[in-house]
Symmetry: C2
């Protein structure tokens, strides 16, 4: 019990599913872009130089995994990270990758 508990195979699958979604550069860029404040789909597409369709497709996947949530505001829909959980995770990871680089 001193050591970390090894997740069940089911938990591992769920965890892997989340990692898999984070494992795409385009999706990660979208997530980081929505980290500080909610962003409209058009804003995401324009700022990240992506097609509107592509952004929508990725947001669909991220929504399905409860990683982001969107609020309609008139014609636009503003997406933000689903909860502090997700954003903390991203921020931590961003820090880790910086240390990794300094380490190598």
């Amino acid at each position: 019990m001193s050591k970390a508990a090894i997740p069940s195979q089911l938990d591992t699958t769920i965890l892997a599913e989340t990692f898999r979604l984070l494992g795409d550069p385009t999706r990660l860029r979208i997530l980081f872009f929505c980290l500080d404040e909610p962003r409209s789909v058009g804003d995401i597409a324009a700022s990240l130089d992506l097609s509107q369709s592509l952004v929508s497709h990725h947001l669909r996947l991220l929504r399905g995994a409860r990683l982001v949530r969107g609020n309609r505001q008139a014609k636009q829909i503003f997406y933000e990270l689903a909860d502090k959980h997700v954003s903390d995770m991203l921020v931590d990871m961003a820090h880790h990758v910086c240390e990794e680089q300094a380490d190598d």
Copy 2:
């Protein structure tokens, strides 16, 4: 500076590469299995019911990303997580996924 720094596109790609590797159930199971103590390839294959070839393939990828490191001990090679960084990350994520489930 109060907000989290958004990683550069290069950093994002590197980070995504790591997430992508973690985004496979088989690889995650291997990592968690090697979390507490170094494990030989044969042990991993037998305990996780995977072919030796498959385990070796995944270990190759994990090695390439500096997520694990292997030490030869006579005929066997024992793999363990590369550093505390990686293991902390896995443990944190495992906790998160548990909370997520409780949340939903």
